[in-house]
């Protein structure tokens, strides 16, 4: 592996999380600056909170009104709609209204009421980066836009002549050029991380309820809403998806949680691979991910682990030696 000693890393708060960008080479600083600029643009286009974002304009639109959006927003909406169709609505960006009802998002300013019966089928993509609605919907791109922002930032880095780097938006990441080690958080104990192996030219996204777990060990409750059941999902598993694009990986972490039976077919179709971890160990989907195998990516035999406490005591022993 080439040395990454010349790599510089910067982090800024965007997309509701901390976004870290690392790049190596002579033009690294300028490339990172340009990549952050792109992330800021995506934040402003796709934020539920920003009044002038494309998302807010859609949420204020009346049925039948044509809303022209940025090409990038249109791309995300297209990917979201595809994921919705493949998962028969398990993934659905029109859950915005329910997230507001659950107190997880603020009421959008200037928007009327959303239609309780609305679904992704009520958002129609028209030519020329335009969309229209058949019912009042409130969309939220929180389940997919971070991944897209990572993909765009990587494109900008490459355009700036960067040949090796990483973009990590709060756990949704993409590595290109030189291979890098990736860790995932233990689903039950955030203070532990598990080595996933090395990846290159691939995206990894994870989703787990660990930060949402109350300290008392009560039931987890996080901002994932099952559209059909209209409930906040509670769970104690970790879900990681490896894919060619971070946007796909990001969206699929929700699909495998909400539609586990359909998930393998969807993973295959989108050439992604999933790893589900819980206290018994890890399950990996048989789907084949189309990523560069350089760097021993990833050795499935390494995913097996016992309970968090058993693992912790074993490591304490190793450290003591």
């Amino acid at each position: 592996m080439k040395s990454r000693s010349s790599e510089i890393r910067r982090a800024r708060p965007w997309l509701g999380t901390l976004v870290e960008i690392g790049a190596a080479g002579a033009n690294a600083a300028a490339g990172i600056e340009a990549a952050f600029c792109e992330i800021e643009t995506i934040h402003r286009l796709m934020s539920f909170h920003e009044v002038n974002s494309d998302v807010s304009r859609i949420n204020r639109a009346a049925p039948g009104e044509i809303v022209r959006v940025d090409r990038r927003t249109y791309e995300v909406l297209g990917c979201a709609q595809l994921t919705s169709r493949l998962s028969a609505g398990a993934f659905d960006i029109t859950v915005g209204g329910r997230l507001v009802e659950a107190g997880l998002l603020p009421r959008p300013q200037g928007a009327g009421d959303f239609d309780q019966d609305a679904s992704y089928e009520d958002l129609l993509l028209l030519p020329d980066d335009s969309v229209t609605l058949t019912r009042h919907v409130w969309i939220d791109l929180g389940g997919i836009a971070k991944g897209y922002a990572v993909d765009r930032a990587v494109q900008v880095l490459k355009k700036s002549g960067i040949t090796s780097g990483i973009v990590n938006a709060g756990g949704d990441l993409y590595v290109f050029g030189d291979r890098q080690p990736i860790h995932i958080r233990h689903p039950e104990d955030v203070s532990l991380v598990l080595p996933l192996g090395f990846i290159v030219n691939a995206a990894v996204a994870s989703s787990s309820g660990c930060f949402a777990l109350p300290a008392s060990g009560g039931r987890a409750n996080d901002p994932l809403i099952a559209p059909k059941r209209n409930i906040a999902v509670q769970w104690r598993k970790g879900f990681t998806v490896i894919a060619r694009q971070c946007m796909i990986a990001d969206a699929l972490t929700k699909v495998i949680r909400l539609a586990p039976r359909r998930a393998p077919r969807i993973l295959n179709r989108l050439r992604a691979q999933a790893i589900v971890t819980d206290r018994r160990g890890a399950r990996i989907s048989k789907s084949r991910v189309a990523v560069d195998p350089i760097g021993g990516f990833p050795d499935p035999a390494r995913y097996r682990f016992g309970s968090a406490s058993a693992l912790a005591s074993r490591i304490r022993k190793e450290i003591a030696v």
């Binding site: 509701g16 080690p181 958080r185 203070s191």
Partner: protein, 176 residues
């Protein structure tokens, strides 16, 4: 999940997982580097400010954020702007960041300087926190292991956002 499409991986060995307390952190920029990252080529004059109790109360009222520290690490920039180094403590994280303000008090840029995760009690301990101030790439944080690139539950940047709100109120009340 149908077993034909999900397979249990064979038991092999326990991975070398990292035990946390004080295990994960990142040092991005020291003060000088952060100054140049936000206001490249400009000169910086230290103008540290101690807020009065009244000012702190007014800042809390306007921003709805607690003023934990009344010492403001402030530099005036030769282009009329301001450069502030600030710290925020979350439930599990400690973050030092720099904020550049334009001459009119609007945010120019925010850079994370150091970031540290902890799942123990030490995050509330001032001595533990003090060791991160002003750390740079040349004097890196002592990390038990060099772990980068963690995929997992998204950390909120709410504390940084609150810190920025507090600094903007501080500008209105004490710097302008």
């Amino acid at each position: 999940m149908r077993s034909s499409q999900w397979m249990w991986l064979p038991a092999a060995y326990v991975p070398i997982a990292i035990l946390a307390p004080a295990a994960y952190g990142a040092a991005y920029l020291n003060v000088e580097q952060a100054q140049q990252a936000i206001f490249a080529g400009h000169k910086f004059t230290p103008a540290f400010v101690t807020l009065t109790a009244d000012q702190a109360r007014e800042i809390e009222r306007r921003s709805d954020v607690n003023v934990r520290n009344r010492e403001i690490q402030l530099w005036k920039v030769s282009n009329g702007g301001y450069f502030v180094v600030d710290e925020v403590v979350g439930k599990h994280e400690f973050i030092t960041y720099a904020i550049g303000l334009n001459a009119d008090g609007t945010v120019k840029q925010i850079e994370i300087m150091t970031y540290r995760e902890s799942f123990g009690h030490e995050v509330r301990n001032p001595e533990w926190r003090a060791q991160f101030v002003g750390k740079s790439a040349s004097a890196p944080l002592k990390l038990t292991r060099d772990i980068k690139n963690i995929s997992g539950a998204t950390l909120s940047c709410r504390h940084v956002a609150d810190g920025v709100k507090r600094i903007l109120a501080t500008y209105e009340i004490a710097l302008k």
